[in-house]
C-alpha cells in the first residue's frame, strides 16, 4: 500500500517540475502565422467567482471566431488563470502568462486591485494590458503614465454621475443613503454620484462603507435607514448588494434603490428578490450597456440569438441568462476587431495603436446607439449607458442614452 502513494507523490512532483515551452517566430511573443496567444486572470474560486462567466463568454466567442477561420488566418487561444481574486496571485499568474506561456497580450483580466498590481510590470515589459475588466477611473485617466493599459466598461465615476444626474432631474429633494465598498471602486462611484448631484437640491444624507471581506452589511443598512434617506444607493458587488436588499426589506424600509451595474445581472436580482417575496427590489434603478439576454426586448435580436447559439456550441452547460457572458463576448468582439484593424502582421505596438483610435458604433452585444470610442487624449472606451428599471422580474430600459465626459 505504501508504494503506490509514494509513486503518486513523485508523479505529482514531476508534474510540478515539468516545464512547458512555446516557440515564437514573429517579432513579438505569442504570435505566429497561424496562432495568437493571449491570456488573462479571472477568479474561478474565492469570493468573486461569480465573475468567472466574463472569461467564459469571451472564450466561447473566440472559439466561435476560430471555427470560422480566425482572424487573418490566425486562431486565437485565450488562456485564463485563476487568481482567486487575490492580487498577489494575480501578479504571479500574470508573470506566468508573460514569461512562461509568452502571451502576446494580457486581455480582460478581472478586478481593480488585481490590474493595478500588474500594471507597472506590464507597462515596463511593454506587454499590452488590454480591456481591463474594471471600471476604475485610473485605467482611463492615467494613460500617459501607463500607455500599455486600457479599460473597457463604463467607468465607475461615469456610472455614479449618471445616477446623480438622474436623481437631480427627477427627484428634487431626494436624500440619498450610500452603501459603498471601501476601495477605489466604491469611492469612484461615490465621487461620481457627488459630481452628478452638485448644484441640485439632492443631498447625500449618509454614506456607509464596508470592507469586501465583511460578512454582512446589516448595521450599515440600519444606519442608512436611520439617516432618513429616501434613496438607497448600493455600490457593492453581488453578495453585499443582495444583502442590502434583504436587510432593507427586513427593516421595512422602502427607499428607491439604485443598484450599481456590477451587481445588477438579472440572476442576482432574482436572488435578491428572495423568490419574489422581497418587494424592495421592485423599481430598482441601474445602468445597462449590454443586451441583457433576459430582457424581453432582445428576444428576437440577432446578436442575442448569436449569443445563445455560441453559448450552446462552445460553453455547454453554462447559464445563458448570465449577462456577464454577454460582457465577455462584447469585449472579445472588440479585441477581434482591433486585431483585424492592426493588419496582416499585428505587433504589440500596432495593436496598442488601434486601441487609441477606437470608433466602433456596431458592437452587436452592446446597446444600439452606443459607440466604443477612444482618442489620443481620451481613453474611456465606453462612456454611454441607458438607465433601466426592475419591474416584475426583469429589467426594462427607459429614456435616452446618457453620456459622460471625463473631466
Amino acid at each position: 500500500m505504501r508504494r503506490p502513494r509514494l509513486v503518486l507523490c513523485l508523479l505529482a512532483l514531476a508534474g510540478a517540475i515539468a516545464t512547458g515551452a512555446t516557440a515564437a517566430t514573429s517579432a513579438d511573443p505569442g504570435i505566429t502565422g497561424k496562432t495568437i496567444l493571449i491570456g488573462g486572470t479571472t477568479p474561478l474560486s474565492g469570493t468573486a467567482s461569480a465573475y468567472a462567466s466574463v472569461a467564459r463568454g469571451a472564450n466561447a466567442y473566440f472559439k466561435f471566431v476560430n471555427s470560422r477561420g480566425g482572424v487573418n488566418g490566425r486562431t486565437i487561444t485565450y488562456k485564463t488563470v485563476d487568481d482567486a481574486y487575490d492580487p498577489a496571485k494575480t501578479v504571479q499568474a500574470t508573470r506566468q502568462l508573460v514569461e512562461q506561456d509568452k502571451v502576446f497580450a494580457i486581455f480582460n483580466s478581472l478586478g481593480t486591485e488585481q490590474n493595478v498590481a500588474t500594471r507597472e510590470y506590464l507597462n515596463s515589459a511593454r506587454v499590452p494590458q488590454l480591456f481591463v475588466a474594471s471600471g476604475a477611473t485610473t485605467f482611463g485617466r492615467d494613460f500617459k503614465q501607463y500607455p500599455w493599459t486600457i479599460g473597457f466598461q463604463p467607468g465607475y465615476r461615469a456610472e455614479g454621475w449618471i445616477y446623480g444626474k438622474y436623481l437631480a432631474r427627477t427627484k428634487a429633494g431626494a436624500k440619498i443613503g450610500v452603501l459603498f465598498q471601501n476601495d477605489d471602486y466604491g469611492k469612484d462611484l461615490l465621487a461620481g454620484l457627488k459630481q452628478g448631484i452638485a448644484g441640485s437640491k439632492v443631498k447625500i444624507a449618509a454614506a456607509q462603507s464596508f470592507e469586501a471581506t465583511d460578512p454582512d452589511v446589516q448595521s450599515q443598512i440600519s444606519k442608512l435607514k436611520a439617516s432618513g434617506a429616501n434613496v438607497l444607493a448600493l455600490f457593492a458587488t453581488p453578495r453585499h448588494a443582495i444583502q442590502g436588499y434583504v436587510f432593507a426589506n427586513r427593516l421595512g424600509w422602502r427607499p428607491l434603490i439604485i443598484n450599481n451595474a456590477v451587481s445588477s445581472a438579472s440572476n442576482i436580482m432574482a436572488l435578491a428578490s428572495e423568490g419574489g417575496t422581497n418587494k424592495a427590489v421592485e423599481n430598482s434603478i441601474s445602468i445597462v450597456f449590454l443586451k441583457d439576454p433576459t430582457d424581453a426586448k432582445w428576444r428576437n435580436d440577432a446578436a442575442v440569438k448569436l449569443y445563445r447559439s455560441i453559448m450552446s456550441r462552445f460553453a455547454k452547460g453554462a447559464n445563458q441568462k448570465d449577462v456577464y457572458h454577454v460582457y465577455g463576448m462584447a469585449v472579445a468582439y472588440e479585441f477581434v476587431r482591433v486585431l483585424k484593424a492592426a493588419g496582416k502582421n499585428p505587433t504589440r505596438v500596432s495593436v496598442m495603436a488601434q486601441t487609441r483610435k477606437l470608433n466602433d458604433p456596431s458592437n452587436p452585444f452592446l446597446l444600439p446607439g452606443l459607440t466604443v470610442k477612444t482618442s489620443a487624449t481620451e481613453r474611456f472606451p465606453i462612456e454611454q449607458a441607458l438607465l433601466q428599471r426592475w419591474s416584475k422580474g426583469s429589467w426594462k430600459s427607459f429614456g435616452g442614452l446618457w453620456g459622460y465626459r471625463a473631466g
Binding site: S45, A52, D82, D86, A88, E120, Y121
Partner: protein, 364 residues
C-alpha cells in the same frame, strides 16, 4: 546525539547544494515559483515553532506577514516617511528591510503573546483569527492611508533596478534588449533568479536558526509546554516566557516571509495578505508535518503548487476549490502525519529490513 547532529549537518549541506543548483535545470519562470516555495517555507518554519512545537494554534499568521510586508514596502518606497536618501544604494535597499520587517512583526507577535497567554486551544485560534480578519481594515483605515496607501496599496515595481524584466523589446526596432543585473557585485541573469537565490538563502539561514533554537533545552521546553502545561510548569519551565517567546519568534519568521513576499510580488495591498493565507499556512504546516523542520518544504510546495494543479483539473467556476479540498482530504487520510510522518514511516520500514542496525536514530 553527536551522530545525529553530524547527519543533520550533512543533510543540510547536501540539500543546500541541491537548492542552489536547481535554477540551472529549470526555466526562469519555475525559478520564480520555487522562490515562492522558499518564502512559504520560512513562514511555515515560524508557524511550526508556535503550533508544532509549542502547541499554540494560530490562524492569524497572514497578519504578521502583512506587518512584515508593509514594513518593507513602506521603507523601500519611502511611503509617507520622507527618509530622504539612504546610505545604502537604491539597488539593495530592499534587502536591509528584511530583518527590520522581521523585527517589527516579531515585536507585534511578542506583544500579542501576552493576551494570548490567557487563551488556549479553540479560543486562541479564534483570537488569532481575529487579527487576520482585522488586518485589512486597519491597513485601509484612512488615518494610516498616507503610509499604507489605503486599499490601492503600494507598488514596489522599479523601486529597485532589478525588477525590470531581463528582456524587453525595443518599441521601434523590435530588437530584444537584454539587461543583466548586478547585485552586490554578482551578475544575475534575471529578476526571477535573484528572487530565487534571495528567498532560499534567507530560508536556509532561517532553517539553521530554527534548528539551533529548537534543539537542546529550549526545544525541550517548547515541547513540554505543548505536551502538558502542568507538567512543564512543575518541571520549572516558565510558561509565560516560552509562550510569548514562541509567538515572538514565530511572528519574526512570518515578518521575514511577508517582507520577501512583498519584494517578490512588487506590490502590497490589504488583499495580498488575505485571511485565506493564514489558513493556507496552517494547511502547509499540517501537510509538512507538525513538529518537523525541513519536511515543511513539502508543505510549502503543497500550498504553492496545489492551487495551480487544481486549475489544470478543471476550470469550471468554483471547481479548483473543490479539487483542492478533495486532494487535501486525501492527503490527510493517507498521510495523517504529513510529509514528516511519511519520512518517519519510510525510515522505520528501511530499518526493519535491516535489523542489524541500531534503532537509536529516530530523531525528528
Amino acid at each position: 546525539m553527536k551522530r545525529t547532529d553530524l547527519g543533520g549537518v550533512l543533510l543540510f549541506v547536501l540539500g543546500a547544494a541541491a537548492i542552489l543548483l536547481l535554477p540551472r535545470f529549470v526555466s526562469d519562470f519555475r525559478a520564480q515559483q520555487f522562490a515562492y516555495v522558499g518564502i512559504y517555507f520560512i513562514a511555515l518554519l515560524g508557524l511550526n515553532v508556535l503550533t508544532g512545537y509549542t502547541g499554540q494554534i494560530s490562524l492569524g499568521h497572514g497578519a504578521f506577514m502583512a506587518i512584515g510586508g508593509y514594513t518593507t514596502a513602506i521603507l523601500v518606497s519611502d511611503q509617507g516617511l520622507k527618509l530622504g536618501s539612504h546610505t545604502f544604494s537604491a539597488d539593495v535597499k530592499d534587502i536591509w528591510t528584511i530583518p527590520l520587517a522581521g523585527l517589527v512583526a516579531g515585536i507585534a507577535g511578542f506583544l500579542f503573546g501576552f493576551p494570548a497567554l490567557r487563551l488556549a486551544g479553540l479560543y486562541l485560534a479564534l483570537a488569532t483569527f481575529a487579527i487576520a480578519v482585522a488586518m485589512p481594515g486597519v491597513l485601509k483605515y484612512d488615518r494610516f492611508a498616507q503610509f499604507t496607501g489605503g486599499g490601492g496599496g503600494i507598488n514596489l515595481f522599479e523601486s529597485a533596478a532589478r525588477t525590470r524584466p531581463a528582456e524587453t523589446t525595443d518599441p521601434i526596432t523590435f530588437e530584444t534588449i537584454s539587461k543583466p543585473i548586478k547585485v552586490l557585485g554578482l551578475e544575475i541573469a534575471s529578476f526571477n533568479e535573484w528572487l530565487y537565490y534571495l528567498s532560499w538563502v534567507v530560508a536556509l539561514f532561517m532553517l539553521a536558526v530554527a534548528w539551533v533554537l529548537l534543539r537542546g533545552k529550549n526545544g525541550r521546553s517548547f515541547r513540554a509546554v505543548r505536551d502538558s502545561e502542568l507538567a512543564a510548569a512543575s518541571s520549572g519551565v516558565n510558561l509565560a516566557t516560552y509562550k510569548t517567546l514562541a509567538f515572538g519568534i514565530s511572528a519574526f519568521y512570518a515578518g521575514v516571509a511577508g517582507s520577501l513576499l512583498a519584494i517578490a510580488t512588487t506590490f502590497v495591498n490589504p488583499d495580498t495578505y488575505p485571511i485565506t493565507l493564514s489558513i493556507f499556512l496552517l494547511v502547509g504546516v499540517v501537510v509538512g508535518g507538525l513538529g518537523s523542520l525541513w519536511p515543511l518544504v513539502f508543505g510549502a510546495i503543497f500550498i504553492q503548487f496545489l492551487p495551480l494543479w487544481a486549475q489544470e483539473v478543471s476550470k469550471a467556476q468554483g471547481a479548483p476549490a473543490v479539487v483542492y479540498g478533495v486532494i487535501l482530504i486525501l492527503v490527510m487520510i493517507l498521510l495523517p502525519g504529513g510529509a514528516a510522518g511519511l519520512i518517519r514511516r519510510l525510515k522505520t520500514l528501511y530499518k526493519s529490513r535491516l535489523p542489524s542496525r541500531p534503532l537509536s536514530r529516530t530523531s525528528d
